[in-house]
Chain length 664, copies 3
Amino acid sequence: MPIDLKFPFILHGGDYNPDQWPEEVWDEDVRLMNLSGVNVATVPVFGWGNLQTSEDTWDFGWLDRVIEKLHAGGIRLCLATATAATPPWLDAKYPDILVVERDGRKRKHGSRHTFCPNSENFKRLSTGLTRKMAERYGKHPALLLWHVSNEYGNYCYCETCSVAFRTWLKAKYGTLKELNHRYNMSFWGQTYTDWSQVEAPQDLAQRNFQGLLIDYNRFQSESILGCCKAEIEVLREITPDVPITTNMMGTFKPLDYHSWAKELDIISWDSYPSRSAEPAEMAFRHTLMRGLKDGQPWMLMEQTPSQQNWQAYNSLKRPGVMRLWSYQAMAHGADAVMYFQWRRSPGAQEMFHGAVVEHAGRSDVRVFQEVAGLGAELARLGPDTLGGRVKAEAAIVFDWDAWWAVEFSSGPTVELQYVDGCLDAFRALMSLGITCDIVSVDADLNQYKAVIAPTLKMVKPGFSEKIGSYVKNGGVFVSSYFSGITDETDRSFSNGYPGPLQDILGVWIEETDALAPGEKNAAQFGDLRFECGMLCDLIRLEGASRLATYVKEFYAGSPCVTENSYGSGKAFYCGTRLDREGARHFYGLVADAAALSPVFGIAPPDGVEVTTRTAGDKTVHYVLNHNPVPVEVVLPSGSFTDLISRKLVSRSLTLSAYGVAVLK
Amino acid sequence: MPIDLKFPFILHGGDYNPDQWPEEVWDEDVRLMNLSGVNVATVPVFGWGNLQTSEDTWDFGWLDRVIEKLHAGGIRLCLATATAATPPWLDAKYPDILVVERDGRKRKHGSRHTFCPNSENFKRLSTGLTRKMAERYGKHPALLLWHVSNEYGNYCYCETCSVAFRTWLKAKYGTLKELNHRYNMSFWGQTYTDWSQVEAPQDLAQRNFQGLLIDYNRFQSESILGCCKAEIEVLREITPDVPITTNMMGTFKPLDYHSWAKELDIISWDSYPSRSAEPAEMAFRHTLMRGLKDGQPWMLMEQTPSQQNWQAYNSLKRPGVMRLWSYQAMAHGADAVMYFQWRRSPGAQEMFHGAVVEHAGRSDVRVFQEVAGLGAELARLGPDTLGGRVKAEAAIVFDWDAWWAVEFSSGPTVELQYVDGCLDAFRALMSLGITCDIVSVDADLNQYKAVIAPTLKMVKPGFSEKIGSYVKNGGVFVSSYFSGITDETDRSFSNGYPGPLQDILGVWIEETDALAPGEKNAAQFGDLRFECGMLCDLIRLEGASRLATYVKEFYAGSPCVTENSYGSGKAFYCGTRLDREGARHFYGLVADAAALSPVFGIAPPDGVEVTTRTAGDKTVHYVLNHNPVPVEVVLPSGSFTDLISRKLVSRSLTLSAYGVAVLK
Amino acid sequence: MPIDLKFPFILHGGDYNPDQWPEEVWDEDVRLMNLSGVNVATVPVFGWGNLQTSEDTWDFGWLDRVIEKLHAGGIRLCLATATAATPPWLDAKYPDILVVERDGRKRKHGSRHTFCPNSENFKRLSTGLTRKMAERYGKHPALLLWHVSNEYGNYCYCETCSVAFRTWLKAKYGTLKELNHRYNMSFWGQTYTDWSQVEAPQDLAQRNFQGLLIDYNRFQSESILGCCKAEIEVLREITPDVPITTNMMGTFKPLDYHSWAKELDIISWDSYPSRSAEPAEMAFRHTLMRGLKDGQPWMLMEQTPSQQNWQAYNSLKRPGVMRLWSYQAMAHGADAVMYFQWRRSPGAQEMFHGAVVEHAGRSDVRVFQEVAGLGAELARLGPDTLGGRVKAEAAIVFDWDAWWAVEFSSGPTVELQYVDGCLDAFRALMSLGITCDIVSVDADLNQYKAVIAPTLKMVKPGFSEKIGSYVKNGGVFVSSYFSGITDETDRSFSNGYPGPLQDILGVWIEETDALAPGEKNAAQFGDLRFECGMLCDLIRLEGASRLATYVKEFYAGSPCVTENSYGSGKAFYCGTRLDREGARHFYGLVADAAALSPVFGIAPPDGVEVTTRTAGDKTVHYVLNHNPVPVEVVLPSGSFTDLISRKLVSRSLTLSAYGVAVLK
């Protein structure tokens, strides 16, 4: 099922902030959009200040004119509710709106996302603007979808939040006694005796109880989602048929996107890989976003056409790379390729952020030409690729609560990064040519041959039972170090680690050694030896057999990777962080056990990525060369049409540097 | 004289926080304590919140039951006054109790040691709890000693403290004129004209006057001691016969433990060496703590049985290391070996801190077994070793005021660390097999053949006279760079450096060069050359003769280490920081001059430590192998019984990796 | 024209803070000043607290006595207005005086320069003291000049400043509409609708608009200058004939010294090179300071005679280096050589700052002897060297607004440092023996053969027209990467980069790549190849020809350095940061094009600096050897007298390590 936009083309466009230029530029913008194959514009993401100039004064005239020009030029609208940054008059009039930072300092006006998510004034005013937008433009023929706010995510630690947090906690725990027990408030004698004693965990307040900190994250994620839902409610009331999205940020820690996704019609996200990002990292984030709504096609809402401005050193995307990365998003399920932003700001913070149209406004330049080239390709591709689903035999479990639990831990090592553990598994499988999904702990796992839950410190109720029955019925399960330590309130399991997973995995962890940076052990798998480090679990086999053994330290000779038969399935445990080669070897064993198949039957060459999207009886393969040199890729039997070049290929395919093929 | 506890055994036990578990676990705890040779438990260090649930509501029932179970199981009590962390209701009711941090921000409730030491409310409430504890449990047959609060040490910079500080200053200086003179307030024209102008030196207040900063440290150390003394007063009133301790933290900068020690009956401290700590650092801290009460046996109140949680990378103690380090404490005068903590917290900040009993509660594990093994050994050793004194021929002078003076200095180098200078001397002597004491500037030095005062920037009244007469009478004295600069209010001496020590040392320092990290000079001692750096004094000989000479820079050829005959004694000056080999060589010369003797007559092998404790006619030698490999140690003539193995040894002894012998 | 002090000698002296010592020391000070050739003392820079002990209580007695002793000893006065640090009573009485830091925290009393520059109370009280000083000492025969305050420079972010800032902005922009446009406030919808919404840009307020940030710097620089001008006004009223200075700090970012210089009679500055400073950096700062008043001789107001205390590692100045650096200041136009400070503070923050007289007060020491030696030399030199002007054929344009604009930029790289770009050019020319001026964007450029404007991101109105006509008339102009991006309010030029300089330079910059640290490209100049990095402009030639070409990346082969003929002149553009050898090569080409001549006709040996000062028909050459080894310098034809040694030299000259010759 494609994104239901009644517009059967791949979306190609981007953020457009016309209020930064005089009207004569708007005509030129539409001309250039047409020239570059842009068919959609996101407006007016930060328009609040120019649309509502005081609580009772509105100015929609300029936006009306912009929209008419776009519409006349055939450009569709991704219409923002424009509530992401509050205007100066609003912060001045309602100072309760401004957040208190975690360090206890209250913000003054300035920047975006500075609103307290529990401020009633903010909710009233932001939904007021949303209502105006929906009433005015809800029936506009160019309107494709709603874009609520923008890149939500700032936490607040003000007194309003403290009060709301207490209400939230009362609803969750019922009694203080229960809360004291779950958080282990007897530690340091911090037992609460009155709800009023619970405060937002500012830096100089209570930050010694992980249960409290995790709950505060949950509460803030929900509170911010509350702002989003308040706008959605208005939109659904007025324009029940227009789909709704808000742009997400991939592996963004503050917001539990699994709960957010339930409220949205379409997933969209903004991809800004760091200078050193590898293809696997980008693929990981695309896959995570795709998984938020069970694989439904999604939108790449923002990417830079050329360079960023807020990293330390902002390199240019090399020729072909923007195109390659656009196809990578599509390879992982995107049906939209969009940019931030259409035209460079004439001044202020993002003046040096890349844009389709640079300050000089010329179209005879590399960046514009690459955008226009891609636009032309996408226009041709659309009907054949839209709506395809990526099929995966393996799933990685990803859980925001576990993320918070892992990274709030005091000990055993500051090096633990939840995403890294998940990425290790993803990268290893990707290098083997195996496609993964990334799913929540609540997902139905029975569709997968293998399920991997790295570093799952927190195991929530029902999960181990689900895994147990999954494995009993023949599934393959993989767990790793720092898993099964705590329950959903971050209390340790009383049977040690990995808690309720022990029986399934057939191991018990007696101790865990933390290695300093540069300190290494090694894992001996038969004749093969791989470096490992960070954490080394001292594993007691309680039914499992060893796959690999430590080579150094007093625990040399003891098992570090194990395998357990459980019912008709198998459960693997990896008690240390393997290096990349080691992880590839280990996941090769897992893939064998689960009979996972590479997309083209064999592992692709280094730096080449292959995925398949299927819609009904249409199957399309994306073949991406991330290498800066040409590469030859062996194809399965049969012949294919490259939908880009429109050529027939068979047996093998040579991709140029950063080259792409879309095979049918 | 042993610690007078009417309990003639080495104490073996640890912190026990039973209120974090249900009562059925308490029975299991007592069973496991017996199994592991534990004979003492420290309760309830953080019990305040569960003992006093509002200002007028008390609940001692649970503690009564815990104590009865322990007593029934033969476990003695190290009974905490439980005042180290304030409960939430208390901070909410009396917000004046919460500290203002040096950065000017007031804390909110949370964490421990967040009380202003000058808060009258805190003193009233903390002594109120102490009184209840003393009245209720003061006559309990299991009670061995009182443990006041826990790890004191947080400074406060609130207005209450400012007011109290002014009173303290008035008492000390009498007039503002005198204070202005001593602090040199004419600098930058900051002369005070009214006492009310003096404020706690917050970061954004007055921090340019070292005299003021040092006085504020003195004032805070005394203020915090005031909280401790207030509790002690109550305890002495109600239980005059029960000895009192509070657990210290070794080289802990905020508190002048020399003045604290006077108020306590027993010294105890918590040893948490960092991952990279060497044996000499641990020995240094044990020796410092022993010196606080003239060598009286002391208690190792806390150490982790396995790993810590609050360092960046928390490695496991290797097999045998916990035992070795326990014996090292005893080798330096401890009569108690205790752990933090008995059972791992089920949740919150210290969930991953090592404990005797891990989350799974099993006793068939390495850590528990090592504790139990040590417990069995200690039970056998007790009567033969208790109460022994360590005899030292040399003393290192250690002064908290000088520490503060050195590290508040603006120039000549940020690398100056007071403890490092003292440790350099200690390490060199230890490597030569020579036992040291570490004493205050007020100590009687006549019992020592050599006295070493490294980096003694601040020389307080009377000290130079004492050293002068000590050397005249045949003593050997050693001074080093950055000594004799200022008086007790950090005013420079008007005769240059090293101030009043010039005559004794026979040198005058014309200039001092500061070297950047990695920059080195060298000291030429006859045919031997050693690297030196950090600071290079340009020494004018005024009576002294040179022992070593600089090799580089424009001062090449000028003296860097000197020796002076003064009366019947000798005074050495080392004007630069020598590397380890150089320091060993230099202290070899000092040892020769003072006729200091190694414990077994010769320097021990690398990584081997030997000390002697004597009680009456009982002499016991501790021989410790810090190496991860076996080592052979040559013994003096005669034969010895190893009190651990109960075997006779003579001539030499082979210690296993991390091995220990206790020879009688 | 010499500094008009009616005192025809090189000034030699320094800061003297007598109120830190008893009166008997003052007599000794005068004796030692005479012994060391000191002829001027700066008093009482920080005397406020001791001169005015409450709002109505004055004590000038001690200063009267100090001044009489100095006068009797023949020492002239550089008389400070003593307003740099507020006394405690004043901050206590008028808390509005204390600044609010950028992080939003209000200071408490302590330190210097803690006053809000817009505080009316501060202005009233500081000019009150100035008036007293002028009335009391304005006719004193020893008075040479006024020294207003000291090292001005702290910004304030308080509400008073916010209010004053709004007034300043109203005067500048007239309407909010104009301000909104210039700052591009539509970005993120932050359009102001009322002046009251504009606030001082504290860290947690509005910091996303570079135009606002730059204006706030301008406003603060002017506000602080306002404090200085208020004092100057009083001094000019009472002592119209006494020249006025305030001591500056070289490349000091917060203050636009070009606008400050207009208010002063004499430029003076404090030179504290860091441990790693090279001769070019010191020369650069001397040259910048000289340029503030069109080359008029200036005063080296402070330098340390031996070592500093506030750097991390404070090395001693090697023998001869203080003398060498003193002559270097003179070589670049100084007619005064002065120290901070005369005598070391007995205590407090600067106790370890070098001084002519150390704590011990001895004169038989290296530092004192070097000062006295230099004093004797200067006394001989005076009449021959005073008032000489340095003649330069090339000028580097330096602009504080551009500095702020460059370093407030968000992107493309955090490595951009405005001063580094200017210093690259200066160093290259200095290594070629070519003397530069450093001038403001408002300077008359017609006197120069070449004008260099590195990294001139901001091009203010009129500048490009001036450069255009300068080049048309035969001048040589050099521009570099990150130039011509924005106008005076930091709005981008709508024709792309380098904005209005495009036509002159004959280039247009399509994109700019930012390289990570360690990442390098190379510039190929004919057969020569030099490393380059940081930024790489992708240059489109629009009339210019290429001088060098990139060697790597996708833009290999495209031009990186260009040359354009424009009218009778030439314009060079360097689109990347060349390494030192590359910069030397490039500026060699520029020098050839502009026919710039080295001082002695050829480039001097490495580490040797040569300058010429001319007063009327007197021409003096300064030849400085910065090397720690002797060096031979080839002289132009003719013979010279070395004014120091009084020897005749010709053909060549051998300078000792750190040696100096002053040739007539």
